[in-house]
């Protein structure tokens, strides 16, 4: 009589033809079972008593490698068990024929270094010793320890905006890398934040992350930053899967809230040891979004969606949770949510001042001349031709908002592009006009401000290097030696500039380039000498001084000239959507709700270049402002909903709690 071979769901079996598979279903019959087995190439149905089906065979012990003739004898075979003795480390000693004459001192030093290099358990963080320019906050450190110890590297960091999720993620990354648990890491962030991530990871954590720009980068660099949109495309997805990253960090992870999107599917399909999802608003529209994010981290922790819906969602309203105590206990396994109120941190106030200047007659003539030139070229060019001039015109218009000194060089360079015809003639005239400008109302205003704020350190921002030189010269003219900070400086020179500013210079003139990671909280006055057409840039500028650790109220001066692009931009950002009232990090969330294909900057330029009369411009910028206002309201609605949900849930611990 034949005995029935019994297998259970989850057992691993071996088939002579299909290889190893896992039993995923069993249908009992009288004399055998029908097994559903998942093999590498698909699911098959098999008879449990089939002679080619058997239990997983024991793996044969690996043979010791043969050493080629004439080489050192092979190291003793390595135990194929739990203990793995690194054969290379033994070989290194085996190949030594005589005792090196290095002396006792070096040997003792070696022993001492080995002892120091041992990693302690996760009860203490190694990474804290290597970070720079970082204020330590208990809630952040506890959050990091919880991710490392309790969540085993898979967690949703859902702190409220401005509490330093990036810092927490950086600390976790650094800790894993220091302990050798992570060798390849990938950070996915929105395009607008890629450089900021790179700068922070490099400067604060000494992690040389590279922004992925080419296809081959996936394999060439172990520490990469890319945008989610780039990573999720089919070609890149395959490449990322092939490279096998140890950890993935997804910033603004609410973009993965929908399980039907390419992004969610892409992250779900990756085999990752560690996964960090960062978002301030994990719930935006309904509870399913939270479920989807948690499922990426630990599938099954909230059961199937049907079970989740039944147990944790109010029937008929998928926005409201029920059984909140049990749900928050489950969420605590994968999620950290620190709120501002729980940290008792005091965030200083912002005092925003708008300094509007009337351009001098020469400056006005030049500004209007350049604007008309830009307008004409945009409206008269064929699309193909326009794409060639586009960047140049954009920069020129922005420079005009910064300083005539900066625009002059671009105008001179433009002569090389527009060599003949009426445009060339106009350019020649504009160059002449720019050369004729002798005074700058904005600079005069700035010098007055520097003079009046005698007891304060002042941080002045501009977008352009030429303007920086112009300001530097002007400030020197009133007998003050400013420190300067720009992208052409080496890392050491940048550190020195910041250090000089901290010690004895009253003024630091800086371009945006490369300063995000450096702490300048000792200063509380920021001057936007020119205004970027990208609110994120403005926010980053302010963020240099208005961040955790700033104890005094800060003052922001926005310089703008009347009836310029910047005047309109400032009107929208300040008066319409009250950008300067937002907490650092919130502007990005607002822009995320502004569902435009083009960037903010493109939209500004498009409006400016395609409308001429003041009335048309006011109307177009007005519409733009309305759109943004709508986006802000949408964001606030999400923020409030998110807040309500987590208030309802009550006890999802933050870094300050356990």
């Amino acid at each position: 009589m034949t005995t029935v071979k019994r297998y259970g769901v989850g057992d691993t079996i071996h088939h002579a033809d299909y290889g190893e598979g896992m039993v995923v279903g069993v249908k009992p019959r009288a004399f055998f079972d029908i097994l559903e087995v998942a093999f590498a190439d698909g699911v098959r149905r098999l008879n449990s008593n089939h002679p080619r089906v058997g239990a997983k065979p024991e793996a044969p012990a690996p043979a010791a490698p043969e050493a080629p003739e004439g080489e050192t004898k092979p190291a003793p075979p390595v135990e194929d068990g739990v203990l793995r003795i690194d054969p290379e480390s033994i070989r290194a000693f085996q190949s030594v024929d005589a005792v090196p004459r290095e002396g006792r001192g070096r040997f003792l030093l070696h022993l001492s270094a080995e002892r120091l290099a041992l990693s302690r358990g996760f009860e203490s963080l190694l990474c804290l010793n290597g970070v720079r320019d970082l204020e330590r906050y208990d809630f952040q450190i506890r959050a990091v320890l919880r991710v490392l110890r309790q969540m085993r590297g898979r967690g949703l960091l859902a702190d409220e905006v401005g509490l330093g999720k990036t810092i927490e993620a950086g600390l976790i990354l650094k800790e894993y890398i220091l302990r050798g648990l992570v060798r390849r890491a990938l950070v996915l962030a929105p395009v607008s934040l890629l450089t900021q991530w790179q700068e922070e990871l490099e400067h604060k954590f000494d992690l040389p992350f590279v922004i992925r720009t080419r296809g081959e980068d996936w394999g060439a660099h172990p520490l990469l930053i890319a945008s989610l949109d780039t990573a999720k495309t089919e070609r890149n997805r395959e490449e990322i899967e092939r490279q096998g990253f140890d950890i993935l960090v997804v910033d603004e992870a609410h973009r993965l809230r929908n399980h039907l999107t390419q992004g969610w599917k892409f992250v779900d399909a990756l085999s990752l040891k560690y996964l960090l999802l960062l978002t301030a608003t994990p719930v935006q529209n309904d509870m399913r979004e939270l479920y989807n994010l948690v499922t990426l981290l630990k599938p099954g922790v909230l059961g199937t969606y049907r079970a989740f819906r039944k147990e944790f969602m109010v029937r008929g309203d998928k926005r409201l949770p029920k059984n909140t105590r049990r749900l928050s206990a489950l969420l605590a396994e994968v999620m950290i949510r620190t709120t501002r109120s729980s940290t008792a941190l005091k965030f200083p106030a912002r005092d925003v001042r708008i300094e509007t200047f009337e351009l001098s007659p020469e400056e006005r003539r030049l500004y209007d001349g350049v604007s008309a030139f830009v307008h004409d070229v945009v409206s008269e060019s064929e699309p193909e031709e326009y794409s060639r001039w586009h960047f140049l015109l954009l920069v020129l218009q922005k420079e005009m908002g910064s300083s005539h000194y900066s625009a002059l060089r671009t105008l001179e360079r433009s002569l090389r592009v527009f060599r003949k015809g009426t445009q060339a003639k106009r350019l020649h005239r504009l160059v002449e006009m720019a050369r004729a400008v002798k005074t700058s109302r904005k600079l005069e205003g700035l010098l007055r401000l520097v003079d009046s704020e005698k007891d304060e350190k002042i941080l002045i921002f501009t977008q352009f290097r030429r303007t920086l030189e112009f300001i530097e010269e002007g400030i020197r003219g009133i007998g003050i030696e400013p420190a300067v900070f720009h992208g052409s400086l080496s890392s050491k020179e940048k550190d020195r500039a910041v250090e000089d500013f901290r010690r004895d210079r009253r003024v630091l003139v800086s371009t945006e380039a490369g300063g995000e990671g450096r702490n300048l909280q000792f200063c509380r006055i920021v001057v936007n000498y020119d205004l970027p057409w990208n609110p994120m840039r403005i926010e980053q500028r302010i963020g240099r001084v208005h961040r955790l650790g700033q104890v005094r109220d800060i003052r922001i001066y926005n310089f703008t000239a009347r009836e310029t692009v910047e005047d309109y931009v400032l009107h929208i950002l300040h008066r319409k959507i009250n950008m300067f009232e937002l907490v650092i990090g919130e502007m990005d969330m607002v822009l995320g709700q502004w569902s435009e294909r083009e960037s903010f900057e493109q939209r500004v330029f498009q409006i400016w270049a395609s409308h001429r009369s003041r009335r048309d411009l006011e109307e177009a910028f007005g519409r733009f402002g309305e759109d943004l206002l709508l986006a802000r309201k949408r964001y606030e609605k999400i923020r409030d909903y998110d807040k309500t949900i987590f208030e309802e849930l009550g006890a999802v611990p933050g870094g300050g709690e356990s």
Binding site: E36, L108, L109, H110, A113, G130
Partner: protein, 376 residues
């Protein structure tokens, strides 16, 4: 700790720190290390408060990238150390061969004072699959008897008590290259010591794997069950349902495999240092009668008498590593082997007829030792 390390690091390179304040040291980096350390001048602070006062200083601690580079330099150098036990007081008088080997058929020559290696292998142990601190494990193996020390000393403390130079008139037997049998003994000893810890790692990993597997299984069983029940809905096609179930089953397998991989218990060991401690001993060469000669010629191998314990050491088999051989016989490799141990293939022959490889090649012939002694 870190200050001591930096002081030693500077001292071995003959450098002096410039002490700006008690907890802040600066020094000029030697030219050959400038590129590696990224600077020609370095400043280290030993406490955080001093760091705040000296913004250009680096915190001297593990995890600081610059300090870690110093550590890396130190870890690449000085991996092997040799030191000698200096006999204290009057050296004990070694017994005459006839007294020491009264019942032996073989004849042994007069004793020769030598140094013999005792190997201290230092391993670092890491536990990547569970949350546990790294450890160091020292395995000390007597190069002659292959006995493993039951009590392991603190290697740094031990080294501090030893001498750099050998005693005059005493020959140090070559300690390198390491023989396979010594390495195998060290490895076995390490494995024995790690047994209990490995068991714990296995238990922890299995427990976590079970928890995770159970969670994944419940999840996918539920999902598959739900997918099956969808057939009642008129909107779902049978093929779609089947396809979904297949996909879920494959996903289930993938998750289980990932969990298996993630929670696979393992402990990593790396040999990071070797301290060779030279022990004073007396070597008695085995004497053989050369053909056509009447006088006995010392040809080896040796039996050793330990001066500190004043006892004759039992040799170990140089083929299988068995220790405490009372009935050892000379091996073709110039050492001893147990009577039951099958001969391993000989290494290519050396000029003196002994095996040229392994231990035999590393040890000087008895004649050479005798010559040295007479020269003195």
């Amino acid at each position: 700790m870190f200050q001591g390390f930096l002081r030693d690091w500077l001292a071995v390179r003959g450098l002096e720190p410039h002490v700006a304040e008690s907890d802040v040291w600066s020094f000029t980096v030697p030219k050959d290390l400038r590129e590696r350390l990224g600077s020609s001048e370095l400043t280290f602070s030993f406490n955080r408060k001093a760091l705040a006062r000296n913004p250009r200083a680096e915190l001297a601690t593990v995890g600081n990238p610059v300090f870690d580079r110093l550590l890396a330099v130190a870890r690449e150098e000085g991996r092997i150390g040799i030191a000698f036990i200096r006999p204290t007081g009057a050296a004990p008088r070694p017994p005459a061969p006839e007294k020491l080997f009264p019942d032996s058929d073989a004849r042994f020559g007069p004793p020769i004072p030598v140094y013999q290696p005792i190997y201290h292998f230092l391993f670092t142990i890491t536990y990547p699959s569970i949350e546990a601190a790294d450890e160091m494990e020292l395995v000390s193996v007597d190069g002659t008897t292959l006995e493993v020390w039951a009590q392991t000393p603190d290697l740094m403390e031990l080294w501090e008590s030893l001498e750099d130079e050998a005693q005059k008139g005493r020959t140090a037997l070559p300690a390198l290259p390491l023989t396979e049998v010594v390495l195998a003994t060290a490895r076995r000893a390490l494995e024995r010591r790690m047994r209990r810890r490995i068991k714990k790692v296995e238990q922890t990993s299995h427990q976590r794997l079970e928890e995770e597997t159970a969670s994944i299984t419940v999840y996918y069983e539920q999902l598959i069950e739900e997918a099956r029940n969808q057939s009642r809905r008129w909107t779902t096609k049978v093929e779609d349902r089947e396809e979904r179930i297949r996909w879920l089953q494959l996903e289930w397998k993938r998750r289980i495999e990932e969990a298996n991989e993630f929670w696979k218990p393992h402990v990593d060991a790396r040999m990071v240092a070797l301290g060779i401690m030279m022990q004073p001993r007396q070597a008695y060469p085995l004497q053989t009668h050369a053909k056509g000669r009447r006088a006995a010629v010392p040809k080896g191998p040796y039996r050793f008498w330990d001066e500190s314990t004043k006892s004759l050491l039992q040799p170990a088999c140089d083929a299988c590593g068995r220790t405490g051989l009372a009935d050892a016989r000379p091996s073709p490799r110039g050492g001893w082997q147990c009577p039951v141990c099958p001969d391993r293939p000989l290494e290519p022959e050396g000029p003196d007829g002994n095996g040229a490889g392994g231990e035999a090649a590393a040890r000087p012939s008895a004649a050479a030792l005798t010559r040295k002694k007479s020269a003195r």
